[in-house]
Symmetry: C2
Subunit: 105 residues, 2 copies
Amino acid sequence: MGDIKHLVLAKFKDGVVVEELLQGLQNLVSEIDVIKSFEWGEDVLKDERLGQGFTHAFLLTFGSAEDLATYIKHPSHVEYGKAFRAAIDKVLAIDFPVVPKGISA
Amino acid sequence: MGDIKHLVLAKFKDGVVVEELLQGLQNLVSEIDVIKSFEWGEDVLKDERLGQGFTHAFLLTFGSAEDLATYIKHPSHVEYGKAFRAAIDKVLAIDFPVVPKGISA
């Protein structure tokens, strides 16, 4: 079984303290042990058309679809989701099983 | 310097042979040596509202913003971009420097 990635793009409402939400997410990642890795970042391309207004990307990796489902259903995630949704203007989410292609550097 | 990720989401036009485009992308990845890693996958969440119709995610990782710029400007990428744009209904792209958070599994 390969990894599956849970990708979330967000645009936060004006005045939202993104650092607080990130701390909450970091706590979530520390608490829920099915998360294999967590990466995030702020868009630097800033292309209005290509980026469609999304400013932040969050990328969670799981070892299986079952682990991702465990995360989604986890009470702490459900609770965090409420705060997250209250803070965003828009969100995009997709889940994709990773098809890795070996690259010899 | 940390890694920077180039994320592209796409929805292909009806009738497009995605495998051919993927092969072209794979060739690109093999050819352009500034690409640190390449992952892609097809959305399995299939949530119309959350996914906004995007069906595929492509994630390229570079060691620096300079390497990403080298990739973007590379003649083979420019050429591939024409075929890619001709095949898509919609596209979203953002670039984000990775803020890694260590997770002890």
